[in-house]
């Protein structure tokens, strides 16, 4: 019984931390740019693919094993560096200030393009990079064994969340971003370069998506179609927590992660729709999510 609860909690926490890293980028981009980015899932998949490519190269160069984490970070960074100018500067910039739903549709189109770009670059075969997962050995909890790498994901998620929170609230550039979130026009009048802030925010969001992808790559087989489920799962998280809220993303990820883990162990039939169910339930009772303040209505 205790074991079972522990399993559910640990599985849930691992799943939630993965989900949180994806959702953090999504919610941050929405907060700053007011774009609900469907292509976020596509960037996630690119991160996974680039890690699956780079890590074998890294090993073939005969580098020390422990530095493989570095290779994974570099691959995530590379994806963000390539994708940000194309998406933000090239396409999304044309649609700022337009209807939110129209922009969602544009990102849906970008998502479709990214799906096929993955196929064109990496083909239809599955890629495997399980080596980094063996790096940290296994840990024992009572009668349970957990892979150290999986638990380290929880640490990574906490680090990402705290780091972003710290930058936003405790540094000058973070406060500028908060000002832009609050009112882009007035911030612009005060001399803030809005375009730069948007570009930086999109870069951070894309990097977080790619990061989640590259650290998940060792856990899964990287193949066509890994992005499609991520999109709705991360949507569910940010909807539950409130769009644009970091604490909301934490709670949202935990709710979905735990609910899913509980379902996997107790009610496997419900595994697929439990998160949609949570999302629908939250929208019905608290449509603006858990952490969304009151907003002024335009008359």
């Amino acid at each position: 019984m205790v074991d079972e609860i522990l399993t559910i909690v640990l599985d849930g926490a691992i799943y939630a931390s993965w989900l949180f890293i994806v959702a953090l980028g999504l919610t941050f981009v929405f907060g700053v740019l007011k774009i609900l980015n469907i292509a976020h899932g596509g960037i996630y998949a690119l991160g996974a693919y680039s890690t699956a490519t780079l890590v074998p190269i890294f090993y073939s160069l005969g580098m020390p094993e422990q530095l493989v984490i570095l290779a994974m970070l570099v691959s995530a960074l590379a994806v963000a560096i390539v994708i940000t100018p194309i998406m933000e500067r090239g396409i999304l910039r044309r649609f700022y200030g337009q209807d939110e739903v129209l922009i969602v549709l544009v990102t849906y189109a970008i998502y479709l393009v990214l799906e096929d770009v993955q196929k064109l670059i990496w083909g239809m075969n599955s890629l495997y990079v399980s080596e980094p997962r063996e790096l940290l050995g296994a840990l024992e909890f009572g009668s349970l064994y957990y892979v150290g790498y999986d638990l380290a994901l929880i640490g990574l998620a906490i680090f990402c969340g705290l780091f972003l929170w710290f930058v936003l609230n405790k540094t000058q550039s973070g406060k500028i971003v908060l000002a832009v979130i609050h009112n882009p026009e007035i911030s612009g009048c005060m001399g803030v370069n809005i375009n730069k802030v948007y570009l930086a925010a999109f870069f951070i969001g894309a990097f977080l998506a790619a990061l989640a992808g590259s650290f998940t790559a060792p856990l899964i087989s990287v193949q066509v179609g890994i992005s499609v489920a991520v999109v709705i799962e991360s949507f569910a998280v940010v909807i539950i927590g409130g769009l644009g809220s970091i604490p909301g993303a934490v709670i949202g990820a935990l709710i979905i992660g735990m609910a899913r883990a509980a379902c996997v162990h107790k009610l496997p039939e419900a595994e697929i729709f439990i998160m949609y169910f949570c999302m629908a339930g939250m929208l019905i009772f608290k449509p603006k999510g858990l952490f969304q303040g009151a907003q002024a209505r335009k008359i």
């Binding site: 044309r94 544009v106 189109a109 970008i110 393009v113 064109l120 499609v228 929208l283």
Partner: protein, 319 residues
């Protein structure tokens, strides 16, 4: 004046319908099939532009599309009902009823929240459908061949007969919708789109407008789903998936909310792009579709319908 305009509309529509029915005899069978599918998608798109007139966009029309498809499919396999016209009509009514039941829940929301809640509904349905093995789970199931007034057309004409039925039913629905758009409640929707609060101060209910429009959109989506299922001869949970819903939103954005025929033109464009790129570039059809979406949003932001409207406005002026 208005009387004359309406007569005109009826005449134009019947002319267009007869023209399309005759053209159907001349064009190859695959194109007949593509147009029938476009009509199915166009019906759902028509539902979304009905909502768009009131300022709402649903990102979950896969929900009603799926319900319509499964209604037709289950009536066909379980109850032995194979008359295509009856199936389309029953799906329209039943899905409209479902729409009416959930509409009060959805009608409280606006903008992205409306889009997301409708998306959540469609995904819950998707999650349920792939788990019900009795109706095929994620594989779906095959529909029995359709009949028309008790007659089963030979297989070479089956597509054409369905095409004719689809054109006639959709044609009359489009006429009715045009009347609705120009009626008082239809025009109030446009006012809600402009400024909801002022409409409420003037004594109309934005909530009622949203409920009515969502019910209509649901019925249309259900009929589209039934038509798509009958045309394909197969139904699966993919009908309700969010990527399907995304295509419906695209159709309505490409068409714009000004014109009814533009929706079917947009749906046909989408189907043609999809079938051509599917045939010639089987591995990259999503890429082409995506680029097509982006380019058309960049270059025709207010939709094909805006061209139609400009054209007819100019025509009226020159008279």
């Amino acid at each position: 004046m208005t009387e004359k305009l309406y007569n005109n509309l009826l005449f134009q529509s019947i002319f267009l319908m007869s023209f399309l029915i005759l053209v159907g005899l001349l064009i190859p069978n695959w194109l007949v099939f593509v147009i029938t599918k476009a009509i199915a998608y166009g019906l759902v798109g028509l539902g979304i532009i009905t909502l768009m007139r009131g300022g709402l966009v649903s990102f979950g029309q896969g929900f009603v599309f799926g319900i319509g498809g499964y209604t037709a499919g289950l009536l066909g396999t379980q109850a032995g009902l194979t008359d295509a016209m009856l199936l389309l009509f029953v799906s329209f009514l039943f899905t409209g009823l479902v729409g009416l039941i959930i509409a009060p829940l959805l009608a409280r929301y606006r903008d992205i929240f409306f889009a997301m809640l409708s998306l959540a509904f469609s995904m819950v349905l998707y999650g349920i459908l792939i788990k019900i093995d009795a109706i095929g789970g994620s594989d779906g199931f095959v529909l029995p061949e359709s009949t028309y007034f008790g007659i089963k057309p030979s297989s070479e004409y089956a597509d054409y007969v369905l095409y004719v039925v689809a054109i006639i039913m959709t044609g009359f629905i489009s006429i009715l919708l045009r009347y609705y758009y120009d009626s008082t409640p239809g025009l109030i929707a446009l006012a809600v789109r402009e400024n909801e609060l002022r409409v409420e101060y003037l004594g109309s209910s934005a909530f009622n407008v949203a409920v009515l429009n969502f019910t209509i959109a649901a019925g249309l989506g259900g009929m589209g789903g039934a038509l798509n299922g009958i045309a394909l001869g197969h139904i699966d949970p993919e009908f309700t998936y969010w990527t399907t819903s995304g295509e419906f939103v695209f159709i309505s954005i490409l068409a714009g909310y000004l014109s009814v025929p533009a929706v079917f033109l947009a749906a046909l464009l989408l189907e043609l792009v999809r079938s051509f790129s599917g045939r010639y570039f089987p591995d990259t059809w999503q890429l082409i579709l995506g680029l097509f979406l982006i380019l058309s949003i960049i270059f025709i932001p207010s939709g094909i319908g805006s061209f139609f409207k400009q054209f007819f406005d100019r025509l009226k002026k020159s008279k």
